[in-house]
């Protein structure tokens, strides 16, 4: 793996720190006029999700992490593992609930998502920023009530619960932002 110096630390660069793969979030150059230069680096530990802030002497280096993002298709859940496949190569991999995490609430079988591989094994699963999913359960819609801005909970086919406008019904398809879990619009499907 390549070795990166502090001046090469860019947002998104994946490096190894204390044995864990990390993604660099921010890199601030700090230098007293006559003194040693430092880099204050904020990075996310990709295993734990925790954000670390470390200060390095400028010119220090870290080993790159073998972390790649691959677009894969979610195939099915066997009760314990989620299975994914790269459509072009038919290569498959599986991930447990720890790794899939919150993404499970947004994935339907056949949907594409980004699987982050670390040394070839799944490390994290990221759903598309926007998904369109059908409402499975909600209170009956209130006709004509499109202007008051009221909301009600709706359970989607994947199990996620989002707040939707009052006029929507079971069977309607909604567009949701998976990063915030917020309803965006009604989808025409």
């Amino acid at each position: 793996m390549a070795v990166y110096s502090t001046s090469e630390f860019r947002s998104g660069l994946k490096v190894m720190l204390d044995g864990d793969p990390c993604s660099i979030l921010e890199n601030e150059f700090v230098k007293p006029g006559k003194g040693q230069a430092f880099n204050r680096v904020r990075m996310r530990n990709l295993k734990t999700g925790r954000v670390w802030e470390r200060t390095f002497k400028s010119g220090d280096s870290l080993e790159g992490a073998d972390v790649v993002d691959v677009t894969m298709q979610y195939l099915y859940n066997d009760g314990e593992h989620w299975h994914f496949m790269t459509p072009e190569t038919f290569e498959q991999c599986q991930a447990d609930a720890m790794i899939v995490g919150d993404a499970a609430r947004w994935l339907r079988e056949q949907d594409n998502c980004v699987v982050t591989l670390y040394n070839g094994a799944p490390l994290a699963v990221t759903p598309p920023n926007h998904v369109e999913l059908e409402i499975a359960e909600t209170d009956p819609g209130m006709r004509g009530d499109t202007a008051t801005g009221g909301t009600k909970p709706a359970k989607l086919v994947t199990g996620a619960v989002v707040k939707v406008p009052l006029f929507l019904n079971v069977g309607d398809v909604v567009r949701v932002d998976t990063r915030t879990g917020e309803y965006l619009s009604r989808a025409r499907e």
Binding site: P32, G33, G35, Q36, A37, T55, F56
Partner: protein, 317 residues
Amino acid sequence: MTDWRPSAPRNALVRRARLLAGIRAFFAARAVLEIDVPVLGRAGVTDVHIDNLVVAGAPPGYLQSSPEYFLKRLLAVHPEPVYYLGKAFRAGERGRLHNPEFTLLEWYRPDWDDRQLMDEVEALLRNLGAAGRAPCPRLDYGTCFRDALGLDPHTAADNELREQAAAAADQPAVRWRDEPRAICLDLLFSLKVEPRLPEGVVFVSDYPACQAALARVVHTPDGVPVARRFEVFLNRVELANGYWELTDADEQRRRFAADGALRAALGKPVRPADERLLAALAAGLPDCAGVALGVDRLLMQLLGAGHIRDVLAFAEG
């Protein structure tokens, strides 16, 4: 190609022009002579933490990291107040507050010491609208350090400083086992002391002897050696660095040699000392105080800009 446009908005360029004119008017009124020294010199600096941009050739040229050596050579012949306002260059310095090419104001006052020069820096900053009417706080480095960290920067053991530095950096202590004292102080001051400084213009003086650079070292009544060096902060951003200048050629030669040894130990290229500066010191540099002020950072503060590129006509690279 989309990055051909100027980096700074027009109002910043107008403010910069006014600021440069204001600085020149201030010094003209005080009969300080502007000297337009070269930016390309035959010698660089030995400073451990300042890297010259080198212009290829035989022999190579060095883009000056400050006009200091030229101005001191001038003072050795013409002992009168002088200033330089122009570009300076430092390789590898790039960030929110740094650009490899930047605008520096540097001036020297024969027969003055650092205390008198601090008064003039304060007058300049007030004149330029960066300081209010109230006197600016004068703080002591050791006191600031003790208040923030509970350690005396002059007398604490190297290991105590290393432990605190490693903790502040969130690094395993083993990685700081061999750090020189000065580097631990740099880190602790930057991360732990600077954020606690008050708003506005603040002077911090009497640095630890290991951070003397080109300042003379004196002993306090308690026998602690301190460097007669000061820094000026504006809203916790380092703005200027000044010295009661070292004039002893032999001591200067020793410090250059020590810089070279440390550069070699750190695996950095060792720069030859500027023999012309040493010859000028041997010929006789008048007692004087000098200070260098980052004009881009001053402009950033006057405009409330968050990044140096917002005040540079073109931030290349």
